[in-house]
Structure formats: C-alpha cells, structure tokens
C-alpha cells in the first residue's frame, strides 16, 4: 500500500503552502484523483488521518474529486469518457483508443487555511495578494 507515502506527500505540499502564506492551520485539502492514478481512494482517506497527526493539518478534511478516464476518439473527433478502464474504446462508435486525455491526475488543487488577521483586520494573505497584483 503506497497510499500512506502519498498521504505524507499531501501533508508536505499543503504544509509548505500554508506556512508560506502565514497560515496557522489547514482546514481542508482538495485533491484530484484520476481513475488511472493507481491510488485507492479509501486507502488514501485512511492514510490521510495518520499522516496529519501532530501537524498543522490535524483535524482537517480531505476532499477527493474523482476524475473518470477520458480518451480522444479520432473517428468521432471528440474527447469521450470511458465507460470502464477495462475497455479503452469509444462508447459512441466502439473504436479502440489509447489516446488518454484524463485519468492520471493525482494532485493537490487547493487548500483552505486559517489566517491570523492584523490590527486593521486585514489578513497576511490579503497583503500577499495585493503585492502580487502590483508586480
């Protein structure tokens, strides 16, 4: 089961971004999981809680968006969703296609964090955002 090491990577990526933004706590982590990513959702969710223990992610929720496998069908000229990853075949015209366009995703899309406000009620992330807009 490699989901535990995947969960530790999720915690590492989220912690890095949260610390850079000056956050005190991570509330939720939003992950995209493709049907062919080779990761079992239940095992990842189970591992996530273990990996979060004792970190700024402790008590946070993991929100997984599952993405189905999609291939490009050259005959129909469009991208189609596979009915099953056991059959790489266009569900409209039955033509085999290995031209995968979606399904290997395994990434952290965004996180929700708690930021301490300053004496004016502004948050440090707000400042960061304004600064980056000026650049």
């Amino acid at each position: 089961m490699h989901e535990l090491s995947i969960a530790y990577s999720v915690v590492e990526i989220a912690t890095q971004s949260a610390v850079e933004a000056g956050a005190t706590r991570v509330k939720s982590v939003h992950v995209r999981l493709g049907a062919l990513a080779g990761v079992v959702r239940g095992a990842l969710e189970f591992s996530y809680e273990i990996a979060c223990a004792g970190t700024m992610l402790e008590g946070s929720s993991l929100v997984v968006t599952e993405l189905p496998a999609r291939v490009y069908c050259a005959v129909c000229g469009i991208e189609v969703e596979l009915e099953s990853v056991q059959l790489f075949c266009c569900p409209r015209c039955d033509t085999p296609s290995g031209d995968l366009r979606q399904g290997r995703e395994l990434d952290v899309e965004y996180i929700e964090v708690d930021l301490p406000g300053d004496e004016h009620g502004n948050t440090s992330a707000g400042d960061t955002k304004r600064n980056s807009e000026q650049e």
Binding site: I6, A21, C89, I111, E112, L115, T123, A125
Partner: protein, 224 residues
Amino acid sequence: METRVLEIRKGILNKNDEIARRLRERLHACGLLTVNLVSSPGSGKTAFLQRTLRMLREAGKTAAALVGDLATDNDAKRLAEAGVPVKQITTDGRCHLEAQMVSDHLADWDLRSFEYLFIENVGNLVCPSSYDLGEDVRVVLLSVAEGEDKPLKYPNIFNSADIAVITKMDLAEACEFDLDAARRNLQAVRPGMQTLTTSAKTGTGMSEWIECLSQERRARNSAD
C-alpha cells in the same frame, strides 16, 4: 482569524517526477536505454532478465541491472550469474521503487560504459504504476500461470506500460492458457500495445525481445 483558499495545483508525486526527469536526462546523455520491468511476484522477471542479460553479453552488448526486492538479495545473486554488473535495492518492506532509490544506486557506476540499464521493480501490480523511475520503456510481464484476465484486473499498470511480455510460454499448455484471450485483454486496456510471447527456459521469443530492445535503443538515441 479568517479562512482563505490557497490555490496549489501541484502533483502529489511532483518530487518523484522531478527526480525521474533529471535522472532520465542523465541516462540519455550517456546513450543508455533504460527499461523498467514490472509484474506480479512470481511472473518470472528474474529468469527473464537473467536470460536477457546473458544474451546481450553474448552479442557483445553492455548492460547492467538494478533489482528491487523487499528483503532479500536472492534475485541480485541470480542475475549476477549472467556476468554483468548488478546491484540490489532493498526497499525494507516498501512496495515499489522510487526514482531517488534508482538514482542513489547508480552513483558509483560509470554509466557511459553501458548500453542498456534494466530495473527489476518490486513484484507488485499496483503501487509501481504511479512511480516514474526515469525509464524509457516500461515493460509489464504476464506469466501464463496467472490467467488471461490479469490485464482486466490491473488496468492501471497494464495501461501505463509500453510493451507486454507474456512469460513461461513453455507452460502454456499445462496451464490451459488462452493466448488469444490474453492478447484481447491487453488490447482492451492498452490499444496498440506491442506484445511478445517468451519462455526464458526454452528461449522461445527471446531473440525477438532482444531485437525489440535494440530497436528501442536506436529510436531513443536518434530522438536526441
């Protein structure tokens, strides 16, 4: 206290992918063809690789092998009998190899002295599929004793592979192996995948495999 959304959009295996990318560049600069062999335990990876290494050596080609194993160095000892440099990567129970482990174990080899590098992954049809090791070609092995429907049971790894090698063909009859069904199932999860049928014991199909390696290496080096 305020709640904010921080966009990340980063691959969870980014770290491994980045190490693999640098490793691939390093291996390409040396003109190597790197092959990652994946399969379930007991599909005959070691016997297949042993014969491959011996045949390459006899043909005057240079090769080396890294072999991943959970706990023992039995496979490395078997491979070393082929008379080529072999190094063991003991994963201490981990179910797959990662790019960093491969990179670390190549440190004291002169990579320019090899034409082929083989990486025998840990026997596992699930976890190794997610980890890029910097290979040029991923080869999935399927033995006749495992049944024709293995590709349907593990579509991820079969889909992620470039070439399928059916092994232990000498046992096909005894196992009542249906080669056509196996080919159909491989094509269902990976349309267009090249499939070879071999027996490391009798040598059936092994010269076609050696020729396939040589073609892959030529294609690889002309692409640079």
